[in-house]
Symmetry: C2
Subunit: 436 residues, 2 copies
Amino acid sequence: MAFSASSPKEGMHFSDRANATLFPTDDPTLISFDYGAPGPTLLPTSLITLAAAARFARPDASNALQYGPVTGDKEFRYELARFLRREYGDEDVDMERLVVTSGATQAFFNLVTIFTNPATVFLLEDPTYFLAAKMLRDHRIPSSRMVAIETDAETGIRVDLLSTALDSLSARDPQPPDVAGTYPYVLYLVPTHSNPTGSTVPTPHREEILRLARKHNILVICDDVYQLLHYDTATPPPKRLVAFDDLAGETGGNVISNCSFSKIFAPGARLGWIEAPKRIVDAIKLAAVSYSGGSPNHLTSNLLIPLLHDNHLHTHLTHLRTQYSARLTAMLTALDTHLGSTPGVKIHRPKGGYFVWVELPADVDTTLLRKRVVEGLQSGEVGQQRVTFKQGADFSMSGDGCRNALRLAFAYYEPEVIAEGVRRLALVLRAVGVGV
Amino acid sequence: MAFSASSPKEGMHFSDRANATLFPTDDPTLISFDYGAPGPTLLPTSLITLAAAARFARPDASNALQYGPVTGDKEFRYELARFLRREYGDEDVDMERLVVTSGATQAFFNLVTIFTNPATVFLLEDPTYFLAAKMLRDHRIPSSRMVAIETDAETGIRVDLLSTALDSLSARDPQPPDVAGTYPYVLYLVPTHSNPTGSTVPTPHREEILRLARKHNILVICDDVYQLLHYDTATPPPKRLVAFDDLAGETGGNVISNCSFSKIFAPGARLGWIEAPKRIVDAIKLAAVSYSGGSPNHLTSNLLIPLLHDNHLHTHLTHLRTQYSARLTAMLTALDTHLGSTPGVKIHRPKGGYFVWVELPADVDTTLLRKRVVEGLQSGEVGQQRVTFKQGADFSMSGDGCRNALRLAFAYYEPEVIAEGVRRLALVLRAVGVGV
């Protein structure tokens, strides 16, 4: 068997290399602070090559190609639990409470189907991850069943407002419909280094969220994809919210930690895991989508076994933290330099994750600003700065809040590119009167 | 960087090799005709090893690790379209109408969410693939919105009954709710070499299904995973149903061909594709689940590029067809030998796919029989035959039909094991009076 390096037959070779990824990286002149992804130089090409060779060399290689067990490959979950115990500093992580997924997005999509009924009310942070709300709309969940809870850009969801909202909801409908296996409420949260504001919910607030979840029978789906990306080495991040639930016992069943390898390894792997109490894991096992396909991404999970086993993923993650941290520092330094003394500008300073949230003077409309920037990019308007950002309104539950804010992703580019991008951004802002 | 061959530290090595796949293959004495999967000797271990090495050796290796484009990697879709044009003998397969998925199961689950509303009525073959109906129940779709259409074990869904059912449904509710982007009806079908009966819908029936789909605004989701597994070399299978829709034009939008690499390459790859008209592809692109995660299984799709490009997948598929065909022959021969002359026994003879459907005398209850067999296996009862099968009622929409039928999967085992399994099955049947 042979593989050709070039085209074996004329006209049968693919030659269009543009748009090979989700991002238009074929435009090297553009600095896009939109991309919530590791940059090309941080993708583990050597690691995956060696991991594949190691896994396929084993005598049980064919098991990686068969339908996998419903909650995922046992050896992978064993190694993953070992990795997480070390990274979280939490001995309570148990492979029996881990379920392999094909990434946090697909897992969230499936969880909404499996654990809700047509009367379930969804509580969301406001601002929130823009695609989470859109995924709920794709589930035909009407706005009347989505409740926005204001967040604080430092401490995340306002737990006092969450409590008030739940009291009011349960007073309105004191007997929420009881459909076996479903929850009357789902709370979607990015509790650690959130998307978009970079906020982290403090430990006492986590305890209060769990108390409310028990009281009102809420399923809290935590997008924990940034939990392992904490750059403040002096203080650890709060424990993930699921650790406050009763993981091993009979009373647990209110929190799911929905995690991914996208930010700590490779988005293209489309591999993730759920950590959840026994009751939830048991329910996932019974879902037809689990059984019909077997383990999601069974092959890819098998490729990661050697990386986890020999601690290469730990080494890689340590490297990523250093790199991401340097990128965050570069962004904050550049923002301070260009906008630090501008009245009305507030630069939020996350301790981890992927995003810096910037609030501008109240009269700046970042939705209009982005429209101008993108139109300028397309028309090639003279003087146009080749930089983009995400407008704050994209993350607003009403679609109309946070109009004076913008989100900057710092994980994708090298520090010097980030500095240049922020310089361009400052010029864009100056053109609309910010920092003149 | 090094990978250890054995445990680097005591107590840190995973040693439990049992249940490494979805199937309890750790019991070598059991012959299970349940498994709808390629057997271990048919899994392409060498191919995937070489493909991974080839793909990762390319200078653009890191693109395989990034978020992929929403409808999937362009080069993969180019090579896939080329492969399908050859295998289907249909020049109309176009990469722009292919969308990468993480397998037919997850794709079906997502399509139901994206394209239906709380009033959509689901029409299903009866008997049907048992997990399809269960997936609909996991979507909280009540029985009142599922309509069973009787099938013929040779020609599949009874098109006359489908037409009558639709007339009656549309008379009952002449104005089905119009929710943008959704369909009032979904028809789920395995049109070619069906699961469970092995039936194939003839071409004129396909034309009639399309006519009905246009008339009533039905979305027909075809589980086409056996379309490429046709073993009757004298006659080609009918064209897939999507080819009767208007794939490139503006009037198309009623049929989705939901396909998978599970049966033609490896279930663990969790990789598949959808072929659909432009209108449907455009809608999938807009779904948040597509954008948030990027292409499903982007990495795995990249591994298959070299296999498609150098026609290794064609060679492998040709090999699989020969092997599966020999297994089917072994099963039919053994069934003829042991049960061929038994009054009341009807052995259906599929021309492809994975399954043989056997009807037994009306007084035989295969649900009870399987229960006895499984209990015998567990208790180690003397004289128990170590063989299992799927009971017909599992595929019945009411859960109570087809009680005198059973489904035998023939893809998993070598011909001589199949012959032995059928011998055991005949002994089991003899014990309940069939073929005494």
